[in-house]
């Protein structure tokens, strides 16, 4: 069985994203980049399937600048077997749908039974890529999985909803997006870290995947970012000094909000 996990390198999510006012892209220079923490859940899900089904091949695929290799390495250190990095200056400025198109082409080469993505990335956050991948591969998409099981050539998930969950299933191969409540991702074992460098990583360009420079990157983008504005500053909270009535005051405040 082949599982492809799509992973993205993002600026350290505990910081605030800065936007380049000219290109309107997220500034990545001088910012620590990490494997998107959201992707660790899908890698963990793949590794758990691998543990239960020996022989399962887990491939992490990323599109991004050369240094996205570090994110792939983290996946390999956790236990994935192989990496695929699609990197090419022509890809810079790709919109989400182009990203999906390119990723789909890279994923197809791996002959996957299951493609796992996070629900949305921690930086650009569009949540459109997994749907795009499913479209280009002609596969069903099961979204928001908080639980995932495989049986009889099918994948069944519990889809998180506001009210509870729905149980849905699809025939493999399929694309599944997972949420942060699906598991607790492991730390890479020290041995895994040492071995990660020895595992194979295919490095591909857009041309390798059959795309011309016009079909991808800024030129191929059908979507254009027009502008941006910082989120409204949150108002400073109220500080209650305890003169003996603080508890009552807080309780009243919460009652007024109807949370208690």
């Amino acid at each position: 069985m082949n599982i492809v996990v799509c992973v993205k390198q993002v600026p350290e999510p505990t910081g605030t994203n800065r936007i380049d006012p000219k290109s309107l892209r997220i500034l990545r220079e001088g910012v620590d980049s990490v494997l998107d923490p959201a992707d660790e859940f899908s890698i963990e899900a793949a590794l758990q399937i691998q543990e239960a089904n020996p022989g399962t091949n887990v491939v992490v695929v990323s599109m991004g600048p050369d240094r996205a290799l570090e994110a792939i390495r983290r996946g390999l250190a956790m236990g994935a077997n192989k990496g695929v990095l699609v990197s090419d200056a022509n890809l810079a400025g790709s919109d989400a749908l182009t990203t999906a198109k390119v990723l789909a082409a890279a994923i197809k080469r791996e002959n996957p039974d299951l493609v796992l993505c996070a629900t949305e990335s921690s930086d650009a956050y569009t949540g459109m890529v997994p749907g795009g991948i499913a479209h280009h591969l002609g596969l069903p998409l099961l979204s928001y999985a908080k639980k995932l099981t495989l049986a009889g050539g099918k994948v069944q998930i519990e889809r998180q909803t506001e009210a509870g969950f729905q149980r849905v299933e699809a025939q493999l191969p399929a694309v599944v997006t997972v949420t942060g409540s699906i598991n607790t991702p492991r730390y890479p074992a020290l041995k895994g870290i040492m071995q990660a460098k020895k595992k194979p990583v295919d490095q591909l360009t857009a041309a390798d995947l059959g795309f011309s420079p016009e079909q991808v990157g800024e030129k191929g983008a059908k979507e254009k970012v027009l502008g941006w504005a910082p989120a409204e500053q949150r108002k400073a909270g109220t500080v209650i000094k305890d003169d003996g009535t603080a508890a009552t005051q807080i309780a009243d405040f919460l009652a007024q909000l109807k949370v208690i």
């Binding site: 730390y187 890479p188 020290l190 040492m194 460098k197």
Partner: protein, 384 residues
């Protein structure tokens, strides 16, 4: 000449730092207060491979050599010293003697489970009457058929209260002095192995020592490490690695105290400005930085030498004495910069100040290290 760590070790360092920051530092004060590392934390460290860092891969280790081991201990040293202390006794000296002096069967039976975190090790050399003069131990081992009968007493044995495997040093021939000392692998539960009360220590809370008593304790001949009379030399060789890695832990501890001091110097305001704007404070910070950097380079050099398979007793002695005294000076300055809050029990600086004090005593006191260094100089046998 290349001052960059190899890429795998940079990854290793990053990933250990993340683990230390997320899992170890948050419970450091709890470890101090409860005098115990939470079981799940130790379990996690064992599963991730922390207990087998320098051991060969063929025996379940990580095979990262002394350099990788030191990089790891430097990161671990940033948290409560109990972590690196338990790990150091297990790895450098208990596991180290088996790795250096053990045969294939002994390594398979003991080193592998130790490396995999399934067995914890301790190293028992010191006795009430024998500390710095380690060759003067009085514990004896008499051969009887294919077994040895061991009698004697050890004190302050780190991991002693719960170790699964203990390397015990005993004299098999009193007339030969150090050449009559042999090393034995003793398993927990061996009849005749008795435990004293766990010691109350100044620091290193969360890591435990106790006395061990051997009363006609029988150990199979196959558990002797190397030929009779080689035990002392194996121990001294393991201590070379131990001293270098201990210094690595000291660098990490000092680094954490420097970082806390820089932050405090920027944040704490007195006389209407951050205290860090005073030259008196700046000079302390600068001196801390210089000494930490110097020690780190000494650690890497000594570790590199060990990884080349060269004897590094001289370098190990130098880095041990320098690192342990450096850590003391850095901790003292950190207390000064933090003022009264560093004197309070819930301050990591207060804990660090007590914890670094042991570094000048165990694995050979500062005086013993200077004896080694000066002895080499006077014999004119020191090599650069």
């Amino acid at each position: 000449m290349d001052f960059q760590l190899p890429e795998e070790l940079i990854d290793l360092k990053k990933s250990i730092r993340e683990f230390v920051d997320k899992e170890l530092i948050p419970v450091s004060q709890q470890v101090e207060d409860e005098d115990k590392i939470p079981d799940n934390v130790l379990k996690q460290m064992k599963e991730l491979g922390y207990f087998g860092l320098p051991f060969p891969e063929e025996y379940g280790g990580m095979g990262v050599g002394y350099m990788g081991y030191c990089v790891a201990l430097e990161e671990l040293g940033r948290a409560n010293a109990a972590y690196s202390n338990i790990l150091g006794a297990h790895t450098s000296i208990a596991g180290g003697t088996i790795a250096l002096g053990g045969n294939a069967q002994q390594k398979e039976k003991y080193l592998r489970p130790m490396a995999e975190g399934k067995m914890l090790g301790a190293f028992a050399l010191t006795e009430p009457g024998s500390g710095s003069d380690a060759a003067s131990i009085r514990t004896t081992a008499f051969k009887k058929g294919d077994r040895y009968i061991i009698n004697g007493q050890k004190i302050w044995i780190t991991n002693g209260p719960y170790a699964d495997v203990i390397t015990v040093y005993a004299s098999t021939d009193k007339t030969l002095g150090p050449r009559g000392i042999s090393a034995f692998i003793v398993e927990k539960g061996t009849p005749g192995l008795e435990y004293g009360k766990v010691d109350h220590k100044m620091g290193l809370h969360g890591s435990h020592t106790c006395p061990l008593f051997f009363e006609d304790m029988e150990v199979a001949e196959e558990n002797r490490l190397g030929p009779e009379g080689t035990g002392f030399y194996t121990a001294m060789k393991a201590l070379d690695g131990g001293r270098v890695s201990l210094a690595a832990g000291a660098v990490g501890g000092a680094q954490a105290m420097l970082e806390a001091s820089v932050k405090h110097a920027q944040e704490r305001q007195q006389f209407g400005k951050p205290i860090g704007e005073n030259q008196a404070i700046q000079w302390m910070l600068a001196d801390m930085e210089v000494e930490i950097h110097a020690t780190r380079l000494m650690v890497y050099h000594a570790a590199w030498k060990l990884d080349q398979g060269q004897r590094a007793s001289h370098e190990a002695a130098m880095v041990k004495v320098y690192a342990s005294e450096m850590a003391g000076r850095v901790a003292d300055k950190a207390v000064q910069i933090h003022g009264g809050m560093a004197y309070m029990h819930d301050s990591p600086i207060e804990r660090g100040y007590r914890d670094v004090r042991i570094l000048r005593i165990y694995e050979g006191t500062s005086e013993v290290q200077r004896m080694i260094i000066a002895g080499d100089l006077l014999k004119n046998s020191s090599k650069n």
